[in-house]
């Protein structure tokens, strides 16, 4: 009875407080939605690329990095992705690492083209950076199969990895029968299944 009386007496005020709180929440959500929309529009019309990277806005940094990478500006893209990589959100960290992996993978493939002025040593270093980035992405988000696929592709295109299995198993003690008949090099990358 007392509770009922209490509600009857203060119902209008309680309602007003709740309405205010919900209005505030709705306003906040609307603001967040507007910001997200503005970010998406800026990404689509590529005006985001002209923005200065805000180290605390990791999605924005990721978007800028994405556009810079598409514009073939790897240094700027790597810088932006590195900011995005510092996020506490594992989703964006995994995506930033995956994007960094792709960036280094592309650079490695360019560097591996010696005829076009590439340098083998640089390619090897970039392959290692790409591997570490992909590995980090997989650790953060095991279901990121694109990163897994690209890591496998990278390993298969990496000259060091291709001959690693053969080198590791070739010695006088553990020489397998198939290695004596000249088929050893057929095995380019020893692994049990895809990673």
């Amino acid at each position: 009875m007392r509770i009922k009386l209490f509600f009857l007496r203060y119902a209008a005020r309680i309602l007003a407080v709740f309405t205010l709180v919900f209005f505030a929440l709705a306003f906040w959500q609307g603001y967040a939605w507007r910001e997200a929309l503005a970010g998406n529009v800026a990404l689509v019309n590529r005006s985001l690329a002209k923005h200065t990277v805000n180290p605390s806005d990791h999605w924005q940094a990721y978007g800028i990095g994405y556009l810079q990478a598409a514009d073939n500006k790897p240094q700027l893209a790597a810088r932006a992705f590195t900011y995005a990589e510092a996020s506490n959100d594992s989703e964006i960290r995994a995506r930033a690492k995956y994007a960094l992996g792709n960036l280094y993978f592309g650079l490695a493939m360019k560097s591996a083209n010696i005829e076009a002025g590439g340098a083998h040593q640089q390619a090897v270093a970039q392959i290692e950076l790409a591997r570490e980035a992909y590995k980090g992405a997989i650790r953060l988000k095991p279901e990121l199969y694109d990163a897994r696929y690209n890591l496998e592709l990278l390993d298969r295109r990496s000259p060091e990895r291709r001959t690693m299995a053969w080198k590791a198993e070739t010695d006088g003690v553990t020489l397998q029968p198939f290695k004596r008949n000249g088929t050893a090099m057929m095995r380019d990358n020893a692994r049990r299944g895809l990673p």
Partner: protein
């Protein structure tokens, strides 16, 4: 102004006198003494600590479900994770802990060493969320991974606890231990073996960790493990099995705990070793005194404030009786 101040000062003195007489002053003092507790005070104490790097095998063979902990037919990785958790819970405060993963020939340290008592929940979360899908390669080159683990532990001045089924992939007839001999005795540690000794087929899991199939000898050949049989297997129709006896030399689709590998690598690196079936079995060997060292460690100092506060509260509670005893026996006047 002065008049007001004198008035309030006299009121304060009167209140203090009442608080002293009825014992409530001790409650106030206890509350004041408890204030620093909110800021998690710590103190430095000389302690026996055990700094440890746990390296866990996340290669594909760790998905084989041939251990009976925490429930029957659990994956080897589950037992490894529980062993790490049990071991961490036994470490003294001040011990530093790090966790690493290995797959293929690489050991990756997930985070730099952290003090165990302050960071136990976070480290426990990291261990609980370890997933074999985090691996970047399906193979396990035990000796190279151990070498990597030893180097990482040495760099950070940690002991090494290396947990694996010691089933190398690709299989080899005799392990080459020369690399390990070079780091012999550099790091103290234990090798913990998990998994059954009977060969079991290696499962393939879907995205949510359910077994969808098992590796077959034909697939092991197609993966490039036996190039001499490759052309023969490629001729088979999809799903067709090779006749009995043709693929007898193929064993890469099966996995078992490899005791001899564990023993030989442990001997090469002068480490202790143990095959465990339950996490508790690992505790005695991990509590070896030789792994411990004396160091200044941060300890929780909240009790230093809490105990006197409890004492003050008790005094306040029994103050009426205590004051009577004192007045009667010692002629004190409160």
């Amino acid at each position: 102004m002065l008049h007001k101040f004198v008035f309030w000062w006299k009121r304060f003195l009167l209140g203090a006198r009442h608080a002293w007489q009825n014992g409530s002053l001790f409650y106030v003092l206890a509350a004041l003494l408890l204030l620093p507790v909110w800021f998690n005070p710590v103190t430095q104490q000389q302690s026996s600590v055990q700094d440890t790097l746990y390296v866990i095998d996340i290669s594909e063979s760790m998905n084989v479900r041939d251990v009976d902990y925490p429930k029957p037919h659990s994956a080897r990785l589950e037992l490894a994770k529980h062993a790490v958790r049990s071991s961490m819970s036994q470490l003294a405060c001040g011990s530093r802990v790090s966790v690493g993963l290995f797959a293929g020939d690489e050991t990756v340290v997930l985070f730099e060493p952290l003090e165990i008592c302050q960071h136990f929940p976070a480290i426990e979360q990291v261990v609980a969320r370890l997933d074999s899908r985090m691996r970047w390669i399906g193979d396990s080159w035990i000796i190279r991974a151990m070498l990597g683990g030893i180097k990482e532990a040495q760099k950070r001045k940690l002991n090494l606890v290396f947990i694996s089924d010691f089933d190398e992939m690709p299989h080899r007839s005799a392990p080459r231990l020369t690399d390990l001999l070079e780091v012999k005795g550099k790091v103290k540690g234990v090798l913990l073996g998990v998994g059954g000794e009977a060969p079991q087929p290696v499962p393939r899991l879907n995205g949510v960790g359910e077994i969808i199939s098992y590796w077959t000898p034909e697939e092991a050949v197609l993966e490039g493990n036996h190039p001499n049989l490759l052309s023969y297997v490629k001729e088979l129709k999809p799903g067709e099995k090779a006749p009995d006896g043709v693929l007898d030399e193929v064993g890469e689709h099966l996995s078992a705990f490899n005791r001899s590998m564990m023993q030989s690598t442990a001997a090469a690196a002068t480490m202790d070793f143990l095959h465990i079936k339950r996490p508790q079995e690992a505790l005695p060997i991990l509590q070896n005194v030789s792994y411990q060292k004396e160091a200044l460690a941060e300890r929780d100092a909240r009790w230093l404030y809490t105990l006197p506060a409890i004492f003050l509260i008790l005094i306040g509670w029994f103050w009426q009786k205590l004051s009577r005893i004192f007045t009667r026996n010692f002629y004190f006047r409160f």
